[in-house]
Symmetry: C7
Subunit: 96 residues, 7 copies
């Protein structure tokens, strides 16, 4: 069972909590409880611009991303697993 997000929305599997290792990337700052990092599992068809053009998203399935402190609020249980639905604008960057 899958979710097709609409427009500029993205479905993200949050990275499991872990101790901070030397080489890990852990978001600090205003939201420290859970790692604000995860993997993109589905992306929308694109963002509709003011001129009617649909612009494909910059992230793709499989990308490891870092997201903002409030991006993790909307979660969905899919087959017993909790996933996050966020707008691409809430994603800070992709881990390269």
């Amino acid at each position: 069972m899958n979710i097709r997000p609409l427009y500029d929305r993205v479905v993200v599997r949050r990275k499991e909590e872990e101790a901070t290792s030397a080489g890990g990337i852990i978001l600090s700052g205003s939201a420290k409880e859970k790692p604000n990092q995860g993997e993109v599992v589905a992306v929308g068809e694109g963002k509709v611009l003011d001129n009617g053009e649909v612009r494909a998203l910059s992230v793709k399935v499989g990308d490891q991303i870092i997201f903002g402190p409030y991006a993790g609020n909307n979660t969905v249980n899919v087959d017993g697993e909790e996933l996050i639905i966020m707008s691409e604008g809430e994603i800070f960057g992709v881990i390269a």
Copy 2:
């Protein structure tokens, strides 16, 4: 008796409450009382963009959708059944 929603509005039949089964999709987070999931029963003619173009909606009648926590506030009783009227922008995704 039917409702034709205007522009980018959508009429949704909310999924009945149920116990969380292993394969079900239940929205958790800020609104846990009722499942924020349902079936699209009518869609508007499309969203009017700034340039005057009318863009058809991305969801269609019969789609099983997940919607945001505040999308279920405007309800209508049609022939004794409670339906929800929301904007397409309040829909997170379609269950595929």
Copy 3:
């Protein structure tokens, strides 16, 4: 004596209050006192878009409509009858 509403405004005669019958459509939710349903009695010339184009409204005189909970606040007494003036954007849908 009639009112010609400006631009995207619409004049609506509210449906009289009634007991909820099996086949009736009664808006529930945040505004339950009066039925948020009525008949369009006059429509504006259209909405002025950013590009200067005037877009005709989607509703027409005689349509039975459902409107949002705050759409009924601006009322006018015309020949002893109370009518509502609202923007088309406050209309949820047309009863078909």
Copy 4:
């Protein structure tokens, strides 16, 4: 002594208070003290749209209008008479 309102502004002479007669139009609702009705005595040159175009107003001098509950706040004394200056967007409709 006259006022030439700028752009989409309109100068309105408020209708005198009166008892509600059967055929009169009295705005009820959130502002009941004074009739929110009046006559247009001067109109601006038009509204400047985003594309630089100036769009002439829809109301003209002599129109009997109904305006919103907060439209009457900015008043001017011209030759001893109190007049209202409002934007055309605060006008609900024209009495036909």
Copy 5:
């Protein structure tokens, strides 16, 4: 010593306070202490529209204007005289 206001800003010399005479124009309403009326002494080069076009202002030097109740807050002392700097959008109209 003069001020060249930027873009859509205007420099205004406020009319001196006076008793209300029969033929005078005094702004009443929310700001009664000082007359919200004055003479334009300098105008900016014009307002920059979204499309990059610069649109010349509608008021010109020497115009006697009426302005909104909050337009008089930013004052400047030039050679011992207090002048007001406001945006043209805060001007209600020109006395003709």
Copy 6:
């Protein structure tokens, strides 16, 4: 050591405090402690408009300017001197 401000930002050296002389320009009103006047020492490359065009600023290095009461909040110490960084939109006018 210099600062190149980005886009529509401007670096300003605030005029030193002084007693109000007959020919001086002192901003009065809501911010009286320090003179809201200064000299432009660096300007950005221009403002990016919605259509992608970069519009050069209206002020230039050396201009004596008057700025709004909140424009002086962001200060930088450069080689021991405090300078202000503001957007051009916070500048009221140029002293001519």
Copy 7:
């Protein structure tokens, strides 16, 4: 391990705290605890304008920048080092 910021976002390594030296640039004002200065270590692909065009950023990797008082809130630990992710609009200027 690197981060590729999205769109108009920038990754910044904050300058270490130091005593204020005569030739140093220290941001004073509303945020005095840490220097609001740093080095750009990664830039996004550009800002998407309303017309769909992607505009490359004005800052580049290696630039020494000054940023606004609230720009340092979103930090990320990369290989044990704390970095800041901000939008380019939060950057005041580049040290030349």
